[in-house]
Symmetry: C2
Subunit: 118 residues, 2 copies
Amino acid sequence: MFDELCPSSLNPIRFGDKWAALVIRCLEGGPRRFSELRVPLRRVTPKVLTRSLRALERDGLVRRNVHAGRLRHVEYELTPVGRSLLEPIAVACAWTERHWDELLDARESYDDAARHDR
Amino acid sequence: MFDELCPSSLNPIRFGDKWAALVIRCLEGGPRRFSELRVPLRRVTPKVLTRSLRALERDGLVRRNVHAGRLRHVEYELTPVGRSLLEPIAVACAWTERHWDELLDARESYDDAARHDR
DNA sequence: CAGAATCCCACTCGATACTG
DNA sequence: CAGTATCGAGTGGGATTCTG
């Protein structure tokens, strides 16, 4: 899922925006700071990551906690509702894992047939 | 899911393009013709429905059968792989049904707070 | 009947640069 | 550190009209 060679854009199942599912899985192990999220999600620009987090926050799936101090830091964590999304995500991942090869094969032969028709 | 008052665009879980999940559920009961699909999916223009069906066909989720004759007609039906998608879809639907109200409430209070901050 | 052609809008995503 | 500002490209969806 975090593999660049396996772009999730090919996956027929999506949760929220492009990065939402990844963000949720990154928060599975507990609260994470913005810059901590940027490590596994280094392909996401801060602006886009922020928007994704805001959307999740708006839906009550993620809670945003600001810790003021000398060096301010912000933590994001899953709410119970957000955590409950892990189950459908896991089901979707299992489906994709089981049918990924069939999907790729189907696309290949479809595209081949289309190319032959021209 | 087919309700206009419940736009699936608010649903955080999506399968394929905007109409894919609906198409799949329409095909659950057996093969359907293009114009039959257009009845429950009357909000979808033919072009968009065609594109959605083609995408599903490309992924091997739907099979397209052309019956030539005096009056030509085309039938679409789920492949076994397509049918297997019904399970993740059902899980997603169950999740949404269970958390829909929380989602709406969260959005409302988030938007209220945002409006108050300005 | 089952689409294809054309045009267009809105929105998402991303790159880059900047800031309290 | 945790974002915001700006700009640009690409994509998806839709309205309308036409066709083998």
